[in-house]
């Protein structure tokens, strides 16, 4: 007869191995990018325009472009996402409509990013005639991160205990007053976390901005929201595949700046979540 404890040891060993197969490459990727990218980072790299066909100089226009895009996306997505989350957690009844809304959110989250790019091209660039511009790109990214914001915010709102609402309502506050002054402030850290995660996602995506805003090479800063702009992820794609003989240092440097930007946002989100858990009133 087989010894069940030996089977267990073998099984647990393979499970451990599977975990290592994921975790070790993740660690290696981050370490390699930092190690090879760090020598490229200096003040000129961060503050200069690209020179010599993007083989030298800096990446300032790409950094600024990405910051504009992310800001635009959040201006569009946060109000809609937040109100949508309030609807789901405070107003929606458990019926067919709610079920369909939730399904739509899941689907919105699952639409491939390049399809968002097509949609942005068809609606904003061509149909509404915004052209390839920061406005078109921001709106496209905004719709893409909408499900992230809605899901995180409605979870945060729902986690506020029901008794908080009952007390407020019993004191004569209206439903909206209760939501606005009682539920929302208590859910704020969770909403903030979701928003920042959405920002990180928007900053790193390339496919949705390919045809809606991204400029191959534009050695100046955008002046209005109707201008094209460079963006960090697209710039990394361009210098990795489209431009021959780019110094490896420049590529790793760009990857490091992008990775730092995205991970920084995630870190902020994690810190907010952690502090919130410690100070929780319930």
């Amino acid at each position: 007869m087989k010894n069940p404890y030996r089977t267990q040891n073998i099984a647990f060993f393979f499970l451990f191995l599977a975990t290592l197969l994921i975790i070790i490459p993740v660690g290696l990727i981050v370490v390699v990018i930092i190690q090879k990218g760090l020598p490229a980072i200096n003040w000129q790299f961060l503050s200069d325009i690209p020179r010599q066909g993007m083989r030298a100089g800096g990446i300032l226009p790409a950094i600024i472009g990405t910051l504009y895009l992310v800001t635009g996306a959040i201006i569009f997505a946060l109000p809609i996402g937040l109100l949508s989350a309030i609807y789901l957690s405070e107003y929606a009844k458990d019926n067919m409509l709610t079920r369909i809304i939730k399904l739509a959110i899941v689907n919105l989250a699952g639409v491939p990013s390049v399809v968002y790019g097509l949609f942005g091209l068809a609606l904003f660039v061509v149909f509404l005639k915004f052209g390839a511009s920061i406005l078109s790109g921001s709106l496209t990214l905004g719709i893409m991160i909408l499900p992230v914001i809605i899901t995180a915010s409605s979870e945060a709102l729902e986690s506020v205990p029901y008794s908080f609402r009952e007390v407020s309502l019993s004191l004569g506050a209206s439903k909206w007053q209760t939501t606005r002054h009682i539920v929302l402030p208590n859910a704020l850290p969770g909403i903030l976390t979701g928003t920042i995660l959405g920002l990180g996602r928007a900053a790193g995506e390339t496919a949705p901005i390919l045809f809606t805003v991204a400029a191959f090479y534009l050695p100046q800063l955008p002046k209005s929201i109707f201008d094209q702009a460079m963006a960090l992820p697209y710039h990394l794609y361009v210098i990795s595949t489209q431009v021959p003989n780019v110094d490896e240092k420049v590529r790793y440097g760009t990857a490091l700046v992008l990775l730092t930007l995205v991970l920084f946002m995630n870190l902020v989100a994690i810190i907010i979540r952690y502090k919130f858990r410690k100070n929780k009133k319930w």
């Binding site: 069940p4 099984a11 499970l15 949508s84 609807y87 491939p112 990013s113 790019g117 097509l118 995630n266």
Partner: protein
Amino acid sequence: MRKLKEFIIEKLILICGLASIFFVVLIFLFLLKEGLAVFKTVSPLKFLFGKSWYPISEPAQLGILPLILGSLLVTLGAAIISIPIGVGCAIYIAEIAPLKIKEILKAGIELLAAIPSVVLGFIGMVTLVPLVKNIFHLPTGLTALSGSIMLAFMAMPTIVSIAEDALYSVPKTYKEGALALGATHWQAIWRVMLPAASSGILAAVMLGIGRVIGETMAVMMITGNAAVIPKSILVPVRTLTATIAAEMGEAVVGSEHYFALFAIGIVLFVISFAINVSADLFLHKRQQ
């Protein structure tokens, strides 16, 4: 006055609540609006099963079978790699890892989910591609295999986190019952927990595969982009997503090529819709 203000706000909330439905429908309508035009020149059957994709030759040949097979091959490879590793990791995190290590592992998985796909594509280009080239003595390392490995990696966070949730939500009493009957921890996991969590794990796998099919940048950077029907996993292939991303920049708005790329978008949208709806059904079944 205050009543009116509340009335307006509540209507606004309702409208925003419906925004997700509105956008899903809007996306689909605009894909149809631009994509259906291609069927004036190619029949849907010829489009889906045509064996050659030469969109800019005269006359253009718009058969996406090579692209569909490219996507399928890369996805299949990614699924074979990522499902056992991903589910294994989920079991380890949910059941075996000590609390402290569990937190570190979860942070690592979140980190992987946060890395932009273009960064993973770049890393794949400089590390994985030369490795595949040297191991198999190929003329190029930009192959379906490289793409599968990279995509497997990108599907992991989805698979691990959803499968872990599914395992976590199995009632504790199930496991305790099995242990009380003298089962080892592994027997309890294998015979009791996994079957109980199976629909959630299936949903995790489906959503992971959905992520793989829709992935664009990394795949475009490391699969070599040859739009021919692949004969093995060691040749360059081109996926549906990469075709759109690589060619839309050159396609003239309103041209046959432009319409054809939108038609590919419809195919992708329908695939992701089907995957997400069925995964949602499995998740829903679990909750009942």
